[in-house]
Amino acid sequence: MSYVKESETSATNPMTNQLRPDSPSPNKIDRESRKTVGKLAIDDPRIICKNVNVFYGENQAINDLSIEIGNQEVISFIGPSGCGKSTFLRTLNRMNDTIVGCRVEGEIRIDDKNIYDKDMDVVPLRAMVGMVFQKPNPFPKSIYDNVAYGPRIHGLITDKNELDALVEESLRRAGLWDEVKDRLNEPGTSLSGGQQQRLCIARTISVNPEVILMDEPCSALDPIATAKIEQLISELSQQFTIVIVTHSMQQAARVSSRTAYFHLGYLIEVGNTNDIFTHPKHPLTEDYITGRFG
């Protein structure tokens, strides 16, 4: 509370501002402002979100969020716990539908289709917008079946040879092929944590989605496995639009071209990753990246 009070005074009293000379533009944006600052619109948008509100029962988890996500870009969502970044990520492939009491208002268009239209089926949507979860969750089936599952249920392949080729290609692109090519029939759960997460990525790209959502994909992994996944994200960004939620600001800085900062259900700031980390416009963003809270 004392912190908020100080900020209130800092906005009104020029004397206190002199105590914080490192603040780049102290009076420019009010700390209490929840209006998104930064570059919302981009030239080549793939996902357009307009005035999105998400409710869990009575609680509003996302407030009036608008953002555009471009083609083949890596955008990372950062922010303290409970700020709604994962919730927003899950609205992009309607995984929130599975949560009882969750309600989404507003408009999310992917390739000019409103994904919350009544006649929109989640099955093709989720085939188009793949997802990698926080905890590696391979199916308790063989490595091969893990990767082959998506193509099978969606009928993407016609014969066994095609499927074999697709499995190999997906595993290669996930950088896992050399490690598992001799044991494709072993259960996916027998792999190490990092390998499991790459298997999940291979599984996701096997159906050739347009967008890949990653919900803190490295939070359960050690630094070496994390480095591999980050390298993989850079490679995959050549082809896919990737939205990644992360708690690690270093990771956001390493892998993404744009960064969005969330705070308590509001999208506070969006901008090029470099700008966000070097010249944050909003005081809250600045506080977060300088480690004053979060």
Partner: protein, 438 residues
């Protein structure tokens, strides 16, 4: 408290934490060892009772697997079998085989001449022995005219005598075997013409009023029909219900009400299900009474809550991350359940189902209500023929006055226990075999 470490900080006049903990240590250890002792003691007492039960049943029942047989020289006299010399099967099947036995007995013991003696003599052999002779002749017509030595079952009284269940020292009027019969039996024993043989009739015959002819085949087949029917009705319905309630149903007052009711149904006394079955299936739908079809419908109703509860618990134990993974891949909810959740939940569901089945196997009360308590000699061959089941058969025999039914009751209990152990073993096997880790 000399054991406290030297570098432990001591405040003057105040015990250190270490010392205080030391003081309470003895009490804690005593508590723990007392609890452990209670646990071991209760297990020992439980096992002891189990041992007494098994010893009692086995001790009483093992002799039922043996049956006293008597060797008689039977002359298949055409004059008795086919007096009109028609030579056809019908005449042979209707012939007086009892007569053959009587002739053979008289030949062995010519001294029995009075009416009373003859009656005593004829009652040495089981009244069912004539059917055995008839089957011999019908299977092999060439026997007619020959004299063959045949082993025939004795009556239950003689069987009991040979198994030591008749006290020879009491007065003649007090026991089921009279003095003359004792003399004959002793002579037969001396001639090795009477001995205990494996009681195959116990496993191949249906129920009978004569203990020496009574078997559990009818009850076992009846139980099998009832149980198979129960499984194929209750397992799919139970699993489908659990999957719907757990994975698809909206959470509202109605599903809450259904859930509470399912839990309550699991605790409803089974005889109530029997009454329901009597009112619905027999009186309203007009299904035949005493039949396995009604039995399995009633037991299905009784088993369903158990299976639904076990299946729901099993579905709940599947980690949600598996569902998320499948849904995230674009699998439809039904595909998610069929491809991923159900295979993982299946061992638990099967275990629940088998435990429900073993309860159904041992169930008597609801079946009494729907008439499966009837005395049925024929071995059922379909779901719509009158039948009885193992526990009901045990109940019927336990109620019979003949001494020989005591051992048969115990033997039938042994067979029932073997089935129950096998089914529970199967449940354990399935759980171990298909248990998957993730």
């Amino acid at each position: 408290m000399s054991s406290s470490p030297e570098n432990h900080t001591k405040v003057q006049g105040k015990l250190s934490t270490f010392d205080i903990v030391q003081k309470t240590l003895a009490k804690r250890r005593a508590d723990e060892s007392r609890f452990r002792f209670y646990g071991i003691a209760s297990i020992v007492v439980g096992l002891g009772f189990l041992l007494v039960l098994f010893a009692n049943i086995t001790g009483k029942g093992y002799s039922a697997f043996l049956q006293t047989q008597i060797e008689l020289e039977i002359n298949f006299d055409p004059a008795v079998l086919d007096p009109e010399n028609t030579g056809n099967q019908e005449a042979l099947s209707k012939a007086d085989y009892n007569g053959l036995i009587k002739i053979a007995l008289q030949k062995s013991f010519p001294e029995a001449t009075s009416r009373v003696d003859k009656k005593g003599l004829y009652s040495l052999v089981s009244s069912g022995a004539s059917y055995q002779l008839r089957n011999l002749v019908i299977n092999d017509n060439s026997l007619v005219g020959k004299t063959v030595k045949v082993w025939l079952p004795t009556s239950d009284d003689i069987d009991m005598l040979l198994k030591g269940n008749v006290d020879r020292n009491v007065e003649q009027g007090e026991r089921r075997v009279n003095d003359r019969q004792l003399v004959w039996i002793d002579r037969l024993v001396a001639e090795n013409r009477i001995e205990k043989q494996f009681n195959s009739a116990f496993f191949t015959a249906g129920d009978s009023r004569e203990p020496e002819l009574a078997g559990i085949r009818g009850a076992v087949i009846g139980s099998l029909f009832t149980l198979v029917g129960t499984f194929f009705l209750s397992f799919p319905i139970g699993v489908a219900t659990a999957v719907y309630l757990e994975e698809f149903a909206p959470i509202n007052k109605w599903t809450d009400l259904i859930e509470v009711n399912i839990n309550n149904l699991a605790a409803v006394p089974s005889i109530v299900f029997g009454l329901l079955g009597l009112a619905m299936f027999i009186n309203f739908f007009g299904l035949p009474r005493s039949t396995p079809i009604v039995g399995c419908l009633v037991l299905t109703l009784m088993t369903l809550p158990t299976i639904i509860i076990a299946s729901r618990a099993s579905l709940k134990s599947v980690p949600p991350s598996i569902r998320e993974a499948a849904l995230g891949m674009g699998a439809s909810p039904l595909q998610t359940v069929l491809h991923h959740v159900l295979p993982l939940a299946m061992p638990g569901m099967l275990t629940g189902a088998i435990i429900g089945m073993s309860r159904a196997l041992g169930e008597t009360a609801p079946l009494l209500m729907i008439g499966m308590v009837a005395f049925i000699v024929n071995i059922p061959s379909s779901f719509t023929e009158p039948a009885t089941v193992l526990p009901v058969q045990i109940y019927l025999w336990a109620d019979s006055p003949e001494r020989a039914f005591v051992e048969r009751t115990s033997a039938a209990i042994m067979v029932l226990l073997v089935f129950l152990i096998l089914m529970n073993g199967l449940a354990v096997f399935l759980r171990k075999r298909y248990e998957r880790r993730w």
